[in-house]
Symmetry: C2
Subunit: 370 residues, 2 copies
């Protein structure tokens, strides 16, 4: 297999595990958070900066790159890694989540989804086969199967239909797959329903994938519902395959996900809130663009040793953001990614040293003091 997974240590008090994802472009320690490079760039950052923060596996978006600059152009450039200068492995989503999010701009059929570009209104069609072809043009190390993501809330019937179609499409993706240097992960659907999650896992595992995405979560449901779904879904999945909780990236959700046996995460949250002037600190989130920080000459997070915190104050970063200076959102983005990536490193060490539950408890106690 192109991508394999080794478990190094299983926690005894929780379902947490530390592992290694082996890819043709290097090993990735898990649990791992994947910074998101939607348009072939982790917003505001150079590849070198992401790498220096400890980012090893990034996610990029098939839908966005298909529309702009076009997956054919990326293929001509030698693939996404060469195009964007990223030295490590890349996971691409299937585009499914984006096209299903387009609302009135899309029409779902059994064969696939018609949709209109959010950029210019042009009409396009994505099917399992097309999603595979586009991801093969991009040349990611891990492709995701084209799935139907049911919204939250939705009826049982709607969730069931999404599960069944996702299973049929997963098989079509497997059959359409051509590249031997690209792994394909399946995606579990089923909303908040235990029996539907069970059916989805059964179908997907019967096809057999080297890793499984847990989809249809972090789509607007309360956190405790997400945790409950993870509680009954993760144990259904094969122990020896990586589990990827899609679209999750707040510190508390990362800890709760790891606690429930998740190995991989991605989310735009750290970089998106950074661009709105909000940063993570060990005591919770802080809106540095607020007036109260205008004369605060302390770092974003006094406990942080990132470049932004070693060299600049809240007052300066607030000034930059108020003045629409790019350096402001560069510093908040760098800080937030550092926060999340170093949190993942500390989580992994805690698992390896058999103290994950305590680490989680202590972190959340301070975090909640927000």
């Amino acid at each position: 297999m192109t991508v394999t997974f080794s478990i190094i240590k299983e926690d005894t008090q929780t379902r947490a595990r530390a592992g290694v994802l082996h890819t043709l472009r290097g090993d990735v320690e898990t649990p791992v958070f994947m910074p998101v490079g939607t348009q072939a760039t982790v917003k505001t950052m150079t590849p070198r900066e992401v790498w220096d923060l400890g980012g090893r596996l990034i996610l990029s978006n098939t839908y966005h790159l298909y529309l702009r600059p076009g997956s054919g152009l990326v293929r001509e450039a030698g693939g996404l890694h060469r195009f964007m200068g990223w030295p490590g492995p890349i996971l691409t989503d299937s585009g499914g989540f984006q096209v299903f999010s387009l609302g009135p701009l899309r029409r779902i059929e059994e064969d696939g989804v018609w949709f209109r570009s959010h950029l210019d209104g042009s009409e396009h069609f994505f099917s399992p086969e097309k999603a595979m072809a586009v991801q093969e043009d991009l040349g990611s190390d891990i492709a995701m199967a084209f799935d139907q993501c049911a919204p939250y809330p939705c009826s049982y019937e709607e969730a069931r239909e999404a599960v069944e179609r996702t299973s049929r499409w997963a098989l079509r993706c497997r059959e359409a797959k051509r590249r031997s240097d690209q792994a394909l992960f399946g995606i579990i659907q089923g909303g908040v329903h235990r029996d539907l999650r069970e059916k989805s896992v059964r179908d997907l595992v019967a096809i057999g994938f080297p890793g499984y995405g847990i989809g249809g979560l972090s789509v607007g449901e309360p956190k405790d519902i997400m945790y409950r779904v993870l509680d009954f879904t993760v144990p259904l999945l094969p122990v020896d395959r990586p589990r990827y909780l899609m679209g999750v990236g707040s510190p508390d959700c990362l800890l709760e996900g790891v606690d429930r046996g998740v190995d991989m995460f991605d989310c735009v949250l750290p970089t998106r809130i950074a661009r709105n002037g909000t940063v993570f600190t060990h005591r919770g989130k802080l809106v540095v663009r607020n007036a109260q920080y205008a004369r605060d000459f302390s770092p974003l997070d006094p406990q942080c040793d990132c470049y932004a915190c070693r060299h600049f104050t809240r007052a300066y970063i607030r000034h930059l953001i108020k003045a629409n200076e790019v350096l402001g959102i560069r510093l908040t983005t760098l800080h937030n990614l550092h926060f999340i990536l170093s949190l993942m490193g500390r989580i992994r060490r805690a698992i390896l040293e058999g103290r994950f539950a305590r680490f989680k408890e202590e972190f959340l106690a301070r975090w909640g003091g927000e």
Copy 2:
């Protein structure tokens, strides 16, 4: 004196000279180009990046910092160097050029200038004394005298009045100056008129400054007129003081300025055109956002060894700029500043090695092939 100047080598074929500007925050080799950090940041760049490109002396804008975040706040932060994390010397302009550019938003009196903020319309008053006080709050290494910059074109009478007021204001700046760790440069006005430039130099040199700005150029006049004014103005200035041509930064103008005996330059051009998707190359300017570069997988400038050119293609950078990704303008800015700063280094070496005239000719021959 706080800032002194040593001439290392004078060219024999031109008026070019290589020198060293000695400041309390370190020596600066001349001729020097000062990157502009209008709002306490060289747009898109960290201080470390500017430093690593060879930037040693930067310019910041009194008018902008006075309005936002306020010079009192910068003083509380420990001065501009600490506020923005810049380890080297800083030159601040006086705010004069900006308030005179405000057009209908300002009213000039002998005592100073009333103006309205471009940010919120609030009314403010700048005088020589105020400009000095604000610059002393900022704590720059070199302050500029508050001058009256006549527009181009303007009547002889208007130019004469600007010269006379600038001389009176220069004296007031000298008398208002308090900080012993800040040097004050005078500014020569006089438009395109030889006798007015002569009078301005006479007045300013009589007061006596450790350096002289040449103002009222690069304000819309044709380049050959600017060169002609330099031809007759620079020789009037004291040989042993640095000469600073304000607002000039295109490669050809830098070479022509150095040729005529100028030691210091500043300009937003390299960083501003970068944000519009235009870059310098050894064969002239290149608009990388143009469609013709969509599939051009070569670097911005094949002769360049900057980070952007070593790692990324025109196609990728064009994609980033079209997609409004910050990394795009980061890379074009970094490239353009590298181009100008390394050009200044090559100019200096050429002067030291007695081959400046040939270097200039060869550079401009290729540059003109644009």
